[in-house]
């Protein structure tokens, strides 16, 4: 198994952000993670990448126990992620952003791969521009993906990388993602709101609501599940 979560629970004080979530991904799997706002999707990402420590539960990555592993070690083990709000490294150029990721996650600066990633993500022309100030939103999102790719991951976790883009941009980006996946043979774990996007990208979907896993299966199956529909309408009403 690439990623194996067993009963992961994250509690903040009395609030259960993620409750007893169990699922697994094989290498190369593409899995959608959906659910209304506040369902605990990003918290689950944080638990896998190490930013929060689960209160209970087991997490294994390629057979290795994740729970005690520090954040940077998880990146080195092959877990890459993006942030919902892009976090370009200030004072650094786009290329330097990728260099940092490459150097610290893999132990050396793989310039060829960096050039390739920049090319794939269509950031080549901005490679030496300041990352914080000179990128459009799409480019910032692309840079998020680029940083994660530069760490040479086996699992790439994408947190709403398509949100906020207009339709054409979304199409193009989805195409890019498919290309990336093919090129590097990655597993993808994707948080996304847009059902159409998810349906096109992910053969399998996991649904969270109030921190709990309420459905799992193919998009067609899941989005017709009455509980999922209820959670979405309920979620929107709130």
């Amino acid at each position: 198994m690439l990623l194996d979560l067993d009963g992961i629970t994250v509690a903040f004080g009395g609030l259960i952000a993620v409750g007893d979530v169990t699922f697994a991904m094989a290498e190369g799997d593409v899995l959608g993670l959906v659910g209304p706002n506040g369902a605990g999707k990003t918290t689950l990402f944080n638990a896998v990448s190490g930013l929060v420590r689960p209160t209970r539960g087991q997490a294994r990555f390629l057979g290795r126990d994740l729970v005690a592993m520090p954040i940077h070690a998880r990146a080195r083990a092959g877990i890459g992620r993006t942030f919902q709000v892009p976090q370009p490294m200030h004072e650094l150029t786009v290329r330097e952003n990728l260099m940092v990721a490459s150097r610290f996650a893999t132990g050396r600066i793989d310039r060829e791969r960096i050039a390739e990633i920049l090319d794939l993500l269509k950031l080549g022309h901005k490679a030496d521009a300041d990352a914080a100030t000179s990128l459009a939103l799409t480019e910032q999102k692309a840079l998020e993906v680029g940083k994660a790719l530069a760490t040479n991951p086996k699992l790439l976790m994408l947190d709403e990388v398509l949100a906020g883009l207009e339709t054409a941009g979304k199409r193009a980006f989805m195409h890019t993602l498919a290309e990336v996946r093919q090129r590097y043979g990655l597993g993808l774990l994707i948080i996304e709101h847009d059902i159409e996007t998810i349906t096109r990208l992910c053969p399998r979907v996991v649904v969270l609501n109030f921190g709990r896993l309420i459905a799992e299966g193919s998009p067609d199956h899941v989005f017709n599940d009455p509980e999922v529909i209820r959670s979405y309408t309920g979620g929107e009403a709130a």
Partner: protein, 319 residues
Amino acid sequence: MNNSVKIAVFLALSYVAVPLALGSNTYVIGLIVAALTIAGIAVAWALLGNLGGMVSFGHAAFFGVGAYVSALLTLRGGWPVFPAMLMAGVGAAIASVATMPALRLRGPYFALAILAYAEIFRILATELKPVTGGAAGLLSIPRLPNVLGLDFGSKLGGYFVILTIVVAAMAAYHLIRRSAYGLALKAMHDSEDATRVVGVNSIVLKAWMLMVSAFITGMVGAFNAHYINFLEPDYAFAGQWTMLAIVSAIFGGYRTVSGPLAGALVVYLVDQLAFKPILPQGHQIVLGVLLGAMILFNPGGMMSMLTAKFLRKEASHAA
């Protein structure tokens, strides 16, 4: 002017022109040596502040430890002075390991935790009488030696030694800043989490910066011990060392490599030559004003201000 020309001019000025012009005036050289001593701490402080993102209020801790290590190695261990000074840097770096639990603390807490360490080291130096001589301190610490006919124990010799330490510290600052480590450290300023998830072990990097900074500060402390030939706890761990270094680094601009040096020279020499005669008592009030004014009105410091002006001028020439 490109950078290598600038560096060559700076080296020529500091290693040749200054000694030739002022070498005979031991008073002025003495003032410059004192300013360079501050500059050394200021560079180390700025390296930690800029690269590590940590403000320290206790660099006197590392200064004092370095001074004591070198003084004791030469006085009691019979070590030659220069190797002892290197060991002083190592000793200060080891002392910084004791302060590393503080790395987990946020900005202001870290700053003041280091201050507590400085205070603890001072009291330990006072209480460990058999080793440190206690409050009475150490007198007649060996002076800097004669090597190959060059008398480093003279005023001018001392100038070359401290200048070399400061230049080496600036070079280290520059090289680290340019390296991948420097990039990662810079990246950590804005989002430590985003940097960590790409594989950067932020605590280890910060710990390294603390050790480098402590090493430099310890060397400077050791230099001062052999230059003044005297040590006591209150002097070795005096808050003044931290205070003057902070004022210099902030005034000169601690995000630039040259800022702390320029700041120390300007702050110390102006203080000594201009303000001290006017306000014999309490002239340090001016340092407080400089520090406050810089933080409020030009947080980038003097060097960034000058560079900005220079660039603007060049731009207007071009236009």
